[in-house]
Amino acid sequence: MKYAYYPGCSAESSASAYDATSQMVAAALGLELEEIKDWNCCGATEYFSIDSLPAYALVARNLALAGRQGTSEVIAPCSACYVNLKKVDERMGDYPQLNSDVNEALAAGNLSYTPGSVRARHLLDVICNEVGCDAVSEKVVRPLAGLTLVPYYGCYIGRPEGGFDDVENPQTLDRLLKGLGATVPDYSLKSSCCGGHMTQIGTEVALGILRGLIDLAAKLGADAMVVACPMCQLNLDVYQNQLNSHFGTTYRMPIVYFTQMMALALGMEAAELKFEEGLVPAGPMLEKWQAAEASPQPRKKKSKKALPMPEPLDGGDSG
């Protein structure tokens, strides 16, 4: 299937590694991505708080452009872009007045958008639910065995309720990483907030949040935290030094995109996957992986006295 591709602003700066590996992985999986011509910023979270109509129009323009290209689904790798695209499409459908106001604005650029005509998808959703984690797993040539990877979804995936994964305990990224051969612990902060732009408003609060996230990952023995959002990556990576000096900690947790890890497992060369763009070096993690590739580890045995553990509920359900 052909998808419109909406890279988002960060793809051109801080998250160019995400952009590049997203396209590499998509190509390897046979997903046809066609970048939206002349796309613009989604307005992030701020614009909606400042002036909502232009904010809606800004996002709707991208949907309109995607529709004009003849695609009915648009893939965004960035969680914030994804949520904005989805939100604007839904709200325009729910509120006729908003719909006509936005379309009036779009008309100035000879564009129009019918709510519901272009479906916003997160790249993670398309890979796990359209391609399928099993199909991805079958394509793995160099399993990520020996690596403990913590899946960190951030707060946008699954929110608001009714998205493609559970709000409190999402599973897609867990399944994907397991399919790549990694050890994936149950990371209970997986859908907590990374602080977003709190780093600019209340650094103390943001650093506390980030410390909690990295601390739990480190306790679980993570070799890296795997993210699906440029904002999460930026906060966890860029502020790691600062929080170390603030709290007197010594974390060196690589923050990598799931597409980078997929590309590795699919056999692409690490050198081409822009790991060096992260401020915390991913080198030690990659070396550990290469060393572990030869020697698989034995599994621990359970005590005989242990009581049975309930089976998890398939699919999750939060209301």
Binding site: V167, D186, L216, K305, L307, P310, S318
Partner: protein, 661 residues
């Protein structure tokens, strides 16, 4: 035609919003009305006498009572008519309470509507025809569905009165949820100790046919004359030979987690009795997990059985029985705690459900009564009990499950008793203790030192912030008494899961032709005055199938349902409603649309004549077939086209007169 119209004030219920005097005066001027009166309570004996005297004095041949819903008092006024020598079907009610005074605020508009409704009934009643109820004999057998404490109580009451009972239970043993519990609140009686004598009594009662591992598949018929088809599932045990010695269970190599009786906390064999005091004593072979049934080898049980009682060839049996009354007491399901993912059940090993904890504290349970963590060894130093899991939550179940506060208190007490040094936290919204000696039990727990935190728990997490939290589960909540967020580190969390309708309650309701609330609890005939009967005569409900309740209330309702059944058996015959449908043979084309439309399976197809025929005894007079019939061949007595058109015309004419264009 001489019509009498009686407008009821219902105290202030009607008169508070409707000008009853105006309605009375206006109705008096309607065509054919001989006398029009108002009275404070028409349903009182004085009110009824008023009607009776007027019938005699004025020679009334039709009566209209403008009052409440016919569900309430139609029988009352029909009887009054009958006593005065008037056919009861010459009565018509205008519902000016539920349809006017209770649903409107504006006095003049409510009064106009009451007038129109009254006029409609006056216009209709002149076309009412005399009808005669039929008597039908009552079969003295009773079907009780569900072998929990509600069903046990009902079955014993009826059997002890000398009548036969078929008690059907889905599981291999009777006992229900109560058999799983350790202690009962607030008296702390051992649940099994008080229940098992009743179970044995059922098992040995000469008037009770106990059908366990069985399900009712189909019910037809009507009050006094039901037929039920029951599937008795194959136990693969010859009950004539089995002594219940338990060797098969001991030798069986297939072990599975027991998600029913042990609530997932323990294991059982593929051939098993759910618990040692099971009634009947015979085990069952669980074919889904039996190695012989799955892989075609093993038969260890057969080899070791000293009486050759294992019978792999056994098939399900279908039993057809005839009964006069049915009591549905199918119980509840515990809320599935996995649905609230922020509480981490099935994620963090040391989060347990209430039923798991019941089994844990039970001396006969998987841990022999020891309170331990999921590793089976470590005793917890601190335990959080989270109230209202799935209850009082619009995202899951809006209702209060009524028993969770009390069993949570009981859990706290059990922990204090077994682990005196452990700290127990109760996270609650409100403490609800409405029952005899319940509040006293709460006070006792306050003195025992349980920590009560008023605040619905927000989450349970293993993400720690401080060294003290390390290795613990952190319960987060807003403490609404202190007014701040709290994080309480504990070793174990117990989720006080609510009670919800059985997952298949809608399907079960269909089988018994009863209805469910939106949630799935069975609907009673009247929430206040008849919480035992259903809208289907002869089918009664008892226990948690109707709504969450504790053991005493369940026992009361089981006994009450039995009393209702006994009164029907005692009377010996039942009156069958006369408002029935009838098929006109001359115009019926035998298309069978009516048969498909009938919710009570009350229409049969006469093959040889290619005609439909209404089985009078089954027909409830709902009228669905009348609407479905393509050739207009069905008449519903007491709801004929003529009567309904007159009723509508009466209302319309009144509105034309009353409401200015």
């Amino acid at each position: 035609m001489k019509i009498g119209v009686y407008t009821c004030h219902c105290g202030g219920n009607i008169a508070g919003t409707v000008d009853c005097e105006a309605v009375t005066e206006w109705a008096g001027r309607l065509d054919g009305v001989e006398v029009s009166r108002e009275y404070k309570f028409m349903c009182s004996s004085l009110g009824q006498e008023l009607i009776e005297e007027d019938i005699k004095e004025y020679g009334l041949d039709r009566v209209v009572v403008a009052s409440c819903s016919p569900h309430m008092h139609e029988p009352t006024f029909r009887n009054a008519c009958q006593r005065a020598g008037l056919n009861p079907y010459f009565l018509e009610m205008a519902n000016i309470r539920e349809h006017a005074s209770w649903v409107h605020k504006d006095r003049s508009e409510a009064t106009e509507k009451a007038m129109a409704l009254t006029a409609a009934s006056v216009a209709r009643v002149r076309y009412n025809e005399p009808l005669f109820a039929r008597l039908s004999p009552v079969n003295q057998n009773t079907l009780v569905v569900g072998g929990g404490v509600a069903g046990i109580q009902a079955a014993l009451e009826i059997a002890n009165a000398g009548y036969h009972v078929y008690l059907v239970e889905r599981e291999p043993s009777i006992g229900g949820h109560m058999a799983q519990l350790d202690k009962t609140f607030p008296t702390l009686d051992c649940s099994a100790c008080i229940l098992t004598p009743r179970m044995f009594e059922v098992g040995n009662h000469e008037n009770i046919t106990m059908l366990t591992y069985s399900e009712v598949e189909e019910v037809s018929g009507y009050i006094g004359n039901f037929e039920a088809r029951i599937r008795v599932r194959a136990r693969c045990i010859n009950q004539e030979l089995c002594t219940g010695c338990g060797v098969c269970e001991e030798k069986c190599p297939a072990k599975v987690v027991d998600t029913i009786f042990e609530a997932g906390l323990g294991r059982r064999k593929a051939v098993y009795r759910p618990f040692p005091q099971a009634v009947p004593k015979f085990p069952v072979i669980d074919q889904d997990n039996c190695i012989w049934f799955q892989k075609g080898k093993c038969r260890a049980c057969e080899k070791f059985c000293p009486t050759d009682a294992i019978d792999f060839e056994q098939d399900d049996r279908i039993l057809e029985i005839e009964v006069g009354n049915i009591i549905v007491a199918t119980g509840y399901d515990a809320f599935d705690a996995r649905r609230i993912s922020q509480y981490g059940y099935a994620r963090y090993p040391n989060v347990f459900t209430a039923l798991e904890f019941e089994r844990m504290t039970n001396a006969a349970g998987p841990t022999e009564g020891n309170v331990v963590l999921r590793d089976g060894e470590t005793q917890p130093d601190s335990i959080a009990i989270i109230h209202c899991v799935g209850s009082r939550d619009v995202r899951y179940r809006e209702h209060c499950s009524r028993v969770c506060c009390m069993y949570s208190l009981k859990f706290a007490h059990m922990v204090h008793e077994k682990l005196p040094n452990a700290t127990v936290y109760n996270f609650y919204i409100d403490i609800r203790t409405p029952g005899k000696d319940y509040e006293e039990f709460y006070h006792r727990l306050l003195e025992e030192g349980t920590v009560f935190i008023r605040g619905r728990a927000a989450s349970i997490t293993d993400a720690t912030l401080t060294p003290e939290e390390e290795g613990k589960l952190i319960v987060t909540a807003e403490d609404t008494l202190v007014g701040r967020q709290r994080r309480i580190p504990v070793d174990m969390a117990i989720l006080s899961t609510g009670l919800e309708p059985r997952h298949d309650s809608h399907e079960v309701a269909r089988i018994f032709s009863i209805s469910c609330s939106r949630e799935g609890f069975f609907k009673e005939r009247h929430p206040k005055l008849d919480p035992i009967a259903t809208m289907t005569d002869g089918v009664f409900i008892a226990g948690c199938a109707q709504g969450p309740r504790d053991i005493p209330d369940t026992v009361v309702q089981g006994a009450a349902a039995a009393a209702r059944v006994l009164s029907i058996i005692g009377k010996g015959e039942v009156e069958i409603e006369a408002a029935k449908a009838e098929v006109n043979d001359l115009t019926c084309v035998g298309c069978q649309m009516c048969i498909e439309s009938c919710p009570y399976s009350a229409i049969e197809h006469l093959e040889e004549r290619q005609k439909a025929r209404v089985i009078e005894a089954l027909c409830k007079g709902c009228g669905t077939c009348v609407a479905a019939c393509l050739s207009k061949s069905i008449t519903l007595y007491h709801f004929t086209d003529q009567q309904l058109v007159a009723q509508m015309r009466g209302a319309m004419d009144a509105l034309f007169e009353l409401v200015p264009a």
